[in-house]
Structure formats: C-alpha cells, structure tokens
Amino acid sequence: MYSQRLAPYLFIAPFVITLLAFWMLPLARTFQMSTQEVLFGEATFIGVDNYQRLWNDRIFWKALFNSTRYMVLTIAILIPIPLVLAAVLNSKIGSPRVKAVFKSSMFVPALTSIVVAGIIFRLMFTESDSGLINQVLGFFGAGPVRWLREDTGGLVALLMLALWRYAGINMLYFLAGMQAIPTEYYEAASIDGASRVQQFFHITIPNLKPTLVYVTAISIYGGLAMFLESFMLYGGNNSPNNQGLTVVGYLYRRGIEENDLGFAAAVGVVLLVLIMAINLTFLALTGTFKKEAAR
C-alpha cells in the first residue's frame, strides 16, 4: 500500500519512534526521577528535596560557575579570532597556495578526537619545567607555571585546548558565509571610499549575521554542556578544588560514580531548563524564529 496519503507517515515513522522511545520517555523519567530518592532500584517520592539539596550544594554552584565561565570565554575567543582568520583568507591578496595549506592545517585539530587532543594538552601543560608550554615560558624568562594545579592555569589550558580544537571549524563557517556575500557590495563601498576596516564592519559583519547567530547558538549549547575536554585534560572527573568540574561532569559524578540518580536527574533538569531558556531567548532576540516561520 504505497498511497501518497499514507507514505508521509511511513517516511517520518522512524523519527516519531525515536522521539517517543529515546527522548520523550527518558525525559519523562528524568523529571520523575528528580522527585525521587533512588536507592538500589527502589524509588521513593521525596518531592522537591533534590532541588533543595541542589540549591544548597556549593559544588553544584561551582560546576555551574565553571560551565558558564567556559561558555562565555569560549564565545569571547572563538568568534573574533576565527572571524579575523577568515577575513584574511577571504582577501584577494596573498598566495592561494599558502592559503590552501593554511586552511588544511586549521582542519587538523578538528580531525583530532577530543580524547587525543585532551591527552596531548594535558602533557603539554605539565607543571614540570620540561613540558612544552613551560619551556616556551622559560625561553621568555617566565614560569614554570603549575598549570593544572591551579584555577587560572587550568582555565588557560582548557581555553587553549578549545581554541586549538574549534578555531578552524568556526573559521570555515565564517569563510563560507563571507564567500556568499556578493563582491558588488565591496566594489560599491570602495568606490564610495570606504576603507577595508570600514567594509569589514559595515558589509561583512551584517551579512554574516545568520552564520554568527548559528555559531553563537552552538557555542552556548556546547559551552554549557561541555564535559569531555575537561575530563581528558584533568585525566578524569576529579580536579583540585573541582576547578575543572562542569555541570555534565557533576551529573556524571552524582549519577554514576555516587549512584544518586534522583539528585543527578535534578542536575539534568536544571541544565535542560538553562540551555533551553538561554538558547530560545537568544534565537528570539535575533529574530531567527520569525524567519523560520516565514519560510
């Protein structure tokens, strides 16, 4: 029975099944579990106790602070730097061959799995003065720094890892967006006497808005839900004073390592609400929904 009326439902059936079995059902369980104490498979309803414990839990606030700080700082570096690199690549000046080699090299970090990238950065940011980063500092007469042993040092290492791993991808996003801007815009502007810098801010940036919105949205999501980068850098879920602990890391610690599923579910609910609220606000402010509806 291949009728046109029935066919669409068969086409989307796999999504409907996935939605129900792997998203709605676990999501409902998350909300339910967050109101329960789960011990050895026995669940007892305890109302909002988990949320109260969460509110008074200093480690949770620390994890939330770490995740938020990481999100804000990665947006602060992973948008301007790739933007400048993309603008350099997009300029008509310079050797195409050098640019091609550069573009390929910027891809190498993205091809490196986060696990391997984390292992490499952990071993470059060692506290010993023979680690690569401390050697470079030593060359300039500074250091050695005890990188992962202290909060700022660990944060710098984490941000360098993120910059290394994601700058190339963001650069390619921006470059693709820039190449879609008609060259007539720039020609008209330069006839009017606009400098390159003026052109960048008055033509490139406004025309890149969809790309900028997209990259910011995935950075919000990726920043708040970050786990693996920190987990690999610190060689596990434990770090001095929990300086590397993220919200997902705490969810993993409470749920799996300490087997407190109810509490972990509450952490998950808070994370969900937070990401949805920030992302939906951001997309509404940038008018993305209006555009999607007007299609």
């Binding site: 999504f15 579990m33 300029s91 050098v98 091809l111 696990v115 470059m124 190339g168 999501y221």
Partner: protein, 288 residues
C-alpha cells in the same frame, strides 16, 4: 584600476609587502597549530613513563629515541587494534544507518503535506537544542532494565533519526522540483521507488557531506559508550585510550603511540576527500 587596487591605493603598505606580511602571518599560525601534533609525534619515540612525568616537548635527544613503542603497539597482545576495529565498524555502520533513516525522514518532511507535520518539525528543531546528556541516565537505567547493557545496538539506535541530519537533508530536498516526483509517479514508480531511484542519486553531495559530519561525531563519541560498554573487548578507541590514562595504568607507552596512530586514518581520509570534509563540517550554517 580595479576596485580592489583602488582600496589598496589608500593603504600605506604596497601590495607586495602586504602580501608578504600576510604570508608570514599565515605561516606562523600554521606552525603553531601543528605544534601539538608534532609534540605527540616526537613523544612516540620516547619512553612513555618519562613523557608522563615530564610532559611532551619538541626536544629531540637523538640518543634516547627508539621505535620500541611502535614495536610494542604492533606486537603487543593488548586490545588496541581490537578497539580500533570496533571504532571503525561502529562508525561505518552507524553512519550508514543514520544517513538512510535520517534522509528517509527528511524526505517525508520536505515532499509531503500531512496532518501534524508542523508539530513534528518543531520537535525536530527542539531536539537540536536538547543535550543528550540529560537523557543519558534515565535511558541508561531503562537499557539496564531491558537487559541491553554492553551492546552496540544501544549506542546506535537512539541516533539513527538524528535531528541535525534530518534538518540538513530537508533543506536539500526542498530544492528538488516537485515535477520530478510527478514524472516518476506517471511512470508508475512507488513513493519509495521515487525516493531511492530518483531522489537519492541526484542528492549525492548531501549524502557525502552528512557522511563526513556524522562520522566525525560518531568517531569521537565518548560519554554514552562509556556508560553502556562494560567489557573491554567491546570498547571503542576513545574509551580504550581513556582507560590507558588512568593513574593506575601502566601502559603509558601505548597511550602516547596509540593516540598518535589513531590520528592517521582520519588524516589520510581528509587528504583524499578534503572537499567533502569542508562541505560536511560547515553544513550546519550554510542555509541560515
């Protein structure tokens, strides 16, 4: 005088010097970006326990370099290549399944009008902003309840209808003229026949791009396999490498050389299919 030259006339730097500065800048950034890979490459020739203690660097002490780590990697009876093979098989199977199922679903959204379509499509959009980590624990409990722990099917099944991939395919399919479908129907093709015989062949670039994007995500998949997989002969490469990093491990030689060798197949594929990699990894934002 072209517009570009006229802009240049406003600059103090002559064109040639500007190009030289730019080239110098790009070369320096390229070298910095490649340093971490160079550092682990150098590390593969050193004693793993020393590397763990002193860290990676670009120091090359010719006297202490050896191929021991490589010899050990290829002769050791350990699990490394087992994990490697697991990762490859899992990635290939999951990518193929995701492309098939997600393109199928996207086609339904792109080509038909039906009751409930808008609500379902909003669900696709919403799922793109819900982190899987939130579902992870209850899904893990459910998986254990039905006795499916430690199986690959649990890793693959939740992600076959992947929202980002559905969204991308839908955008792509929307560009196909409806006349083509009508022509197919006139010729007596079934709805599924039209999809597989008419639509799939003309949308190969979309499949190539999504294959790359999904392969990168799946090859890196960590937290969910870490929860689900119990027996070490089923581990994937990231999970296996992680077990070598724990403070109780004594296989640091394998950790360094194994990490480096795991990069090679991806780099080779990239060199062969660079065009598709660029298209795949920037697929998300092209049609904003």
């Amino acid at each position: 005088m072209s517009a570009d030259q006229r802009v240049h006339a406003k600059y103090a730097l002559p064109r040639g010097l500007h190009a030289a500065v730019q080239t110098g800048f790009l070369v320096v950034v390229t070298l910095i970006v490649l340093v971490p890979v160079a550092a682990i490459f150098v590390g593969t020739f050193q004693d793993g326990n020393v590397v763990i203690r002193k860290g990676l660097s670009l120091d090359i002490d010719l006297g202490s370099l050896s191929l021991d780590n490589y010899v050990m990697l290829f002769t050791d009876s350990g699990m490394y290549f087992r994990w490697f093979a697991n990762s490859i098989v899992l990635t290939v199977v999951q990518v193929a399944g995701t492309l098939l199922v997600s393109s199928f679903v996207a086609y339904g959204f792109a080509m038909y009008d039906f009751k409930g379509k808008n609500a379902m499509f909003i669900a696709v959009l919403l799922l793109m902003t819900v982190p899987f980590e939130i579902m992870m624990l209850p899904l893990f409990v459910m998986v254990n309840d039905v006795g499916l722990a430690d199986s690959y099917s649990v890793i693959v099944l939740p992600f076959l209808a992947a929202s980002v991939t559905i969204f991308y395919f839908r955008q792509y399919f929307l560009g196909i003229p409806k006349d083509l479908l009508e022509a197919g129907r006139m010729d007596g093709a079934t709805e599924f026949g039209i999809f597989f015989k008419l639509v799939v062949p003309i949308t190969k670039p979309a499949f190539a791009a999504m294959a790359i994007l999904n392969a990168m995500v799946i090859w890196n998949n960590f937290l969910w396999p870490l929860l689900v997989l119990r027996s070490s002969e089923k581990f994937t490469l990231p999970i296996g490498l992680n077990t070598l990093l724990t403070p109780y491990a004594s296989n640091y030689e394998l950790l360094i050389v194994g990490s480096f060798v795991s990069l090679l197949p991806v780099l080779v594929l990239f060199l062969l299919f660079q065009r598709y990699f660029v298209a795949g990894m920037t697929a998300g934002a092209l049609k904003g």
